[in-house]
Subunit: 319 residues, 2 copies
């Protein structure tokens, strides 16, 4: 079996994760070997109730290679009502992530795709969880990682993520911006298999207006110069409020943003439905759909697997 | 003549200002008395060349009341090529603003609508000019003013505007946020003639995530509480990255944003073509189209007067 092995976590059992998995799994077998990390009995029961085929063998991690698709059965689950996460379901969701990370670290799988979990319910377990990105990086003691939102049209990398806005300006150093550009450039080159063009945002209004509204743009310029010296096709800093117009108009493949909302405001307005979240800097490839557990529509069969399918395809293209 | 008198500056002569004026002036006579502040000879020449009617009397400011529309002739101009601002044209554009402000302060007109000018060419004259808003407020020594972007669907007020991002968090005080809410609420009530619903943004990612990413949201909450105590219909703080989804979904009339790009990124992506820029806190009503001089299309007759028409209508509705 020469296809890449992709661990896909089942996510929060009460969310849309399980039904999206059932909708996507047959299709992805065409280009990868899905290794579902979750609750086997829960998935088979759900598949039967929905009249869906679930053609996967439940197996041990030592025997993954023997199947064109399988389930690593992490735990049994009691009754779970769609839309209602419980301590049990949240704990299970967390154990799926832990197991998938373990499989990737042991190189039993080639990449990890995570389905959405419920942060608030995990919080109630006393576990600090800001999102898969930070959680996995912390578990692996990785300091230099970056969050990226990826669509077929454009990728957006974040230089800082879950920090107070008041701490952002001092975090915008030449080194940190340069590393963001470099990681993004490397990932894009692998995905698109050609040279890619990256736009870098400023931090301040009008990108500082020649130093009138802040000087962090000098450090951003130094990072851009360093990237250019290493033969990367990168331009900026551009005024944040027109960055996404410039991306479109001038045919950039990607943007480097300075902080959470500078990236997330336009990403959520422009292409949230199709976006994939990927983490750069981990020892393995990790992607996920950009949406959440969607408790309001969980169990109704209407959730779209598009973002999950994109996440799995994106993971394969990064290998 | 009972219609409101609206001073409309001609803007940068080399920009789209003059042609938009010529396109809009007949239509606006239906609901206001336009008082064009600019160069009469320049406008009549341009009107003749474009085969447009310009039915306005050139007059002195003391005699404005005698006409259904007129021109206050500030200066003659040498040859101006569309798209090419000069020191002379920039100086003229500035003198149009000064004259319009003077007319408003003397109560000879009821409101001021400004056409776009070229900031960079004005800079070369040695005049500090961040935009009409700051320029006019500074001339009048007004400290507490607010920039608002207004469309038929939604209005967006900015708590801070042209300051470095690193200075924003300490400027987010209860008082400043409250004044923004209060000014916006008063303006909207006048425009819509009904109670309006306002959403307030947070400052930090996820609106601070319960204090995990910053605590400025506590001060924003205090401002919201104070506004509620004064019977305003206001909610928040909402996570910045989904604010504009919430506006739409929950039927808010307006948003209060904390800083320049938090407002301008979504405004420019969602409705820049139709937006009107208005300044609250001045001793008179002042609006403008949200677009700039558009040198790339100036003189070609293709620029749309929609934003200018909206700006004039908005000024009238605020009176």
């Amino acid at each position: 079996v020469g296809k890449p092995k992709i661990a896909i976590t089942m996510g929060e059992p009460a969310g849309v994760g399980p039904e999206l998995l059932l909708k996507a799994v047959e299709e992805v077998k065409e280009f990868c070997t899905p290794v579902i990390v979750g609750s086997a009995s829960f998935l088979f029961e759900r598949a039967e109730r929905e009249g869906r085929k679930l053609d996967l063998s439940v197996t041990e991690e030592e025997r993954l290679n023997e199947f064109g698709g399988c389930i690593i059965d992490v735990c049994k689950l009691g009754r779970i009502d769609p839309g209602k996460a419980t301590e049990e379901s949240a704990r299970a969701a967390l154990s799926f992530i832990d197991k998938a990370v373990e499989l990737a670290c042991k190189a039993r799988v080639d990449a990890v795709v995570t389905s959405p979990v419920c942060k608030h319910t995990i919080d109630r377990l006393g576990v600090k969880f800001l999102g898969h990105t930070d959680y996995i990086a912390e578990r692996l003691n990785v300091k230099d990682y970056r969050m990226v939102f990826f669509t077929q049209r454009v990728a957006v990398a974040l230089t800082t993520v879950h920090v107070p806005l008041r701490n952002v300006p001092s975090l915008i150093t030449e080194e940190r911006v340069f590393v963001t550009i470099k990681m993004l450039h490397a990932a894009l080159s692998r995905i698109h298999k050609r040279e890619c063009k990256i736009a870098v945002s400023g931090l301040n209004p009008h990108a500082g207006e020649e130093g009138l509204f802040g000087n962090e743009e000098e450090r951003i310029k130094d990072a851009i110069k360093r990237a250019k010296d290493e033969e990367m096709n990168v331009e900026g800093p551009f005024p944040p409020d027109t960055l996404f117009h410039i991306l479109e108009k001038e045919g950039f493949d990607a943007a480097v943003c300075m902080y959470h909302d500078q990236a997330l405001m336009p990403v959520k307005l422009l292409f949230f439905d199709e976006a994939v979240n990927l983490t750069l800097g981990l020892p393995f490839v990790r992607t996920s759909p950009a949406h959440g557990v969607a408790f309001d529509i969980a169990g109704k069969g209407v959730a779209s697997p598009r973002s999950l399918l994109n996440a799995i395809r994106c993971a394969v293209s990064l290998l």
